[in-house]
């Protein structure tokens, strides 16, 4: 089983990385880029088969380690192995 955890900055927190990316894209001639945000994806490979239980555990991982909730939001997507 896999969990995809998306971690991004909360709205209102300045994202210098995103800003630099959009500026550099503009500099390269990609004028259509209005703004950019950069976040992280953490892909976890998990043992077990109970998706619901696993998701609850992943939520705990996020709160405990994967996200810093002072500045970050997170979102979890569970996937069965393909």
């Amino acid at each position: 089983m896999k969990a995809l955890v998306y971690v991004g900055l909360k709205p209102g927190v300045l994202d210098p990385q995103g800003r630099t990316i959009s500026r550099s894209l503009n500099d390269l001639g990609f004028d259509e880029v209005e703004s950019a945000l950069q976040g992280k994806v953490i892909e976890l490979n998990l043992t077990g088969t109970d998706v619901e239980a696993a998701e609850a555990r992943v939520k705990e991982m996020c709160e405990k380690l994967l996200a810093n909730t002072v500045i970050e939001n997170y979102r979890i997507e569970m996937r069965m192995a393909d």
């Binding site: 209102g12 927190v13 300045l14 210098p16 990385q17 630099t20 405990k64 380690l65 994967l66 810093n68 002072v70 500045i71």
Partner: protein
């Protein structure tokens, strides 16, 4: 006074911190390995040193903040233990929730190493009592993630409570309100991005950092 420096995997200012503590106390600090679950008895002051604990992977200081020894230090700090974190140590203290706010990537996205002038905001604290309020000091900075952030309410509370001890005169990283170092509400846990432990020797970085160690060690 027995002091201690915590050593995490890839701490790299642990020796610098130890040299500073020995210089001021005349006694070698204990070096405590991160796997320990309890601080040795009798330690009155703990330094979380600079470096790149766990490679700064995930977020600077995040993984170290979850190590067993930090849980013990956190509990003891709630009962009054004096703790200071410099650079990565500051990041660890915010990640552990021992200090408010967070340290984000520098706004120009680059690592910055330079001597930085700071204003001592107040001498009314355990960590700055031997400085003159509003005086200027120079400490080196060397970090990639030193951009202090806190939400509006937290920031207002920190400012109002006089918790800001040092401010940059020439903000190198985008920190809100030019904040370089803060103390917790109780006044016993302190963190700053600049390196006072690299400013204790006229041959290397000047001597402006000595008073910081003197201040805290006098009060314990």
């Amino acid at each position: 006074m027995q002091t201690a420096v915590i050593r995490f995997p890839a701490s790299n200012c642990d020796r610098d911190a130890a040299v500073a503590l020995e210089k001021v106390t005349g006694r070698k600090p204990l070096i405590v390995w991160h796997r320990e679950t309890e601080l040795p008895a009798g330690v009155g002051f703990v330094v979380m040193p600079g470096g790149f604990s766990y490679g700064d992977y995930l977020r600077s200081g995040a993984i170290a903040a979850r190590s067993p020894i930090v849980q013990d230090i956190k509990a003891k700090s709630e009962r009054g233990l004096a703790v200071a974190g410099f650079c990565n140590g500051f990041q660890i203290l915010t990640e552990a929730g021992m200090l408010p706010g967070a340290l984000m990537r520098n706004t120009n996205l680059k690592f910055v190493c330079r001597p930085e002038r700071l204003k001592v905001e107040t001498a009314d604290s355990r960590f700055t009592k031997t400085y003159t309020a509003k005086s200027e000091v120079t400490f080196p900075v060397a970090h990639h993630d030193g951009n202090y952030f806190a939400d509006k309410d937290t920031l207002a509370r920190v400012e109002k409570g006089g918790q800001v001890l040092f401010r940059y005169l020439n903000n190198p990283n985008g920190s809100l309100n030019d904040i370089a170092g803060i103390v917790n509400e109780a006044g016993n846990v302190f963190g700053m991005m600049p390196h006072p432990e690299r400013a204790i020797d006229p041959m290397h970085g000047g001597t402006d950092g000595i008073n910081l160690f003197k201040s805290i060690l006098e009060t314990i």
